[in-house]
Symmetry: C2
Subunit: 313 residues, 2 copies
Amino acid sequence: MKVITREQIQRILPGLDLLPEMERAFVAYSQGNSVVPPVGEMILDRGEVHIKYGFIREEEFYVIKIASGFYGNRALGLPSGNGMMMLFSQKTGEPEAILLDEGLLTDVRTGVAGAIAARHLAPSRVEQIGIVGTGTQARLQLSFLKQVVDCNRVLAWGPNPAGLERFRREMEAEGFHVRTTLDSAEILKRCNLVITATPSRKPILRGRDLVKGTHITAVGSDTPGKQELDPQILHRSDLVVADSLSQCRERGEIYQACRAGMIHHEQVIELGAVISGKERSRSSDDQVSVADLTGVAVQDIAIATAVFRAAGG
Amino acid sequence: MKVITREQIQRILPGLDLLPEMERAFVAYSQGNSVVPPVGEMILDRGEVHIKYGFIREEEFYVIKIASGFYGNRALGLPSGNGMMMLFSQKTGEPEAILLDEGLLTDVRTGVAGAIAARHLAPSRVEQIGIVGTGTQARLQLSFLKQVVDCNRVLAWGPNPAGLERFRREMEAEGFHVRTTLDSAEILKRCNLVITATPSRKPILRGRDLVKGTHITAVGSDTPGKQELDPQILHRSDLVVADSLSQCRERGEIYQACRAGMIHHEQVIELGAVISGKERSRSSDDQVSVADLTGVAVQDIAIATAVFRAAGG
């Protein structure tokens, strides 16, 4: 069994072309060619652990991901999130590799998924990108958008000026032209491609600020208690897309909007079906679309396999 | 993170005193001091994978075990079973160790549990030990019984003479006096401590052969389809003990006997409660008792922690 460290993974990642790999994984998922059992969960006094696992039929490996969040870690000088991914042979069950990524690959695959959602759902001409949040995931979302969107104008919202200023400097260094705002209403009013990437537990973006021709990708809400979008936004959307139809019954923006009676599950379509062309994408630049990404194990399978192959596995 | 190989584990195991550690784990489980979420399961074309995980409150680690069975492996010259255990800090979620035991620790902890059941439930004077099965687990059961039972007379049953003869030689080398039989009825007629350790899918031992004063520990039946004991045996038992009251609703001999209407779940008591004295053990040497061991994650926690500590962790 090969042990691959975070440092090795960091060296490997820039050389990978992850978007097509991840698109294939989403398509396999939506076509029923993957097996993704329910997420295992363990709640401890100081944190929580999630075990995600599954495989894509006819491929080489199955993947088990162990991810944890321990909220007292910051006080100890440790990151709150941790994680690893393991690959096993689908033929023999033998462990092939352990990727000690400490959560990095989960962050990256979420960034990649955001770019895929934008590629298939954003209006044809993006005037300005709106980013809600200034953390690691907000930075990754913007970085991966470069591969699919021809726009470097960014408006960023965050809850505090210091975080916003740091985000602005970091993203300008990556070639974006970034303005910032402390008024979240500005995001929907001025941007037609919006990404939300916060751990918020109440809506940050309001339906009353929504303008036609906008696409919103929400990546922050990965548990039943989290929410970034006013359910009115989903109610007024022409297209509501989930990475997983089954998961959006239990968590995320779609779960919240269904619970509020603002949309019905039957109108939700799956990202993999949009990618494959089985479901229609937007039919005009005036439509409003929302992609709700709660994260599915096929993404972990795709990125872990790509990293392991690049490491010589 | 420390990586501990099977060879290292094999060197560590003989120096460990596992019975008291495992007894404490069973007691913690029965007292509700452990958290053991439902087992994760994944079925592939050529095998199956189980993920067992949990922790004992106030202890240092949580443990995740990944175990697989791939039935075509033998043709490839590989063992069908494989597995690993991982320890993580309960304080921070950081991975502390990965034990690449390839299933060895699961075999051993099952052997230890059999000895614990015998210590608490066997009649005071064991005349002859009956072993049903001649595989790895049958050998381990007998080996660990040495620590708790003052009897070296063994009668072994197995489905074929070659396997029985090999078992006899191996166990005689460990100091037992072993006779063999191809008639499984002999086991219940001639032994008052009986262990069943086969993957049988239909009863091997019959109620009509049961003699008063017998204790039977069944360790083979770990899935809903497996069964080693005629439900009549449980029906006629004075004590029916499970390692896990919740698991015995879904698998094992107790599940089968309840399904057959031969016993009620309400009469089943838990091994940890017998060890702690909360539930009564046998009150006379004439009683019949059955212990049904399907395997619980606290056993994995106990043995993984003991091995890691002995490895300097």
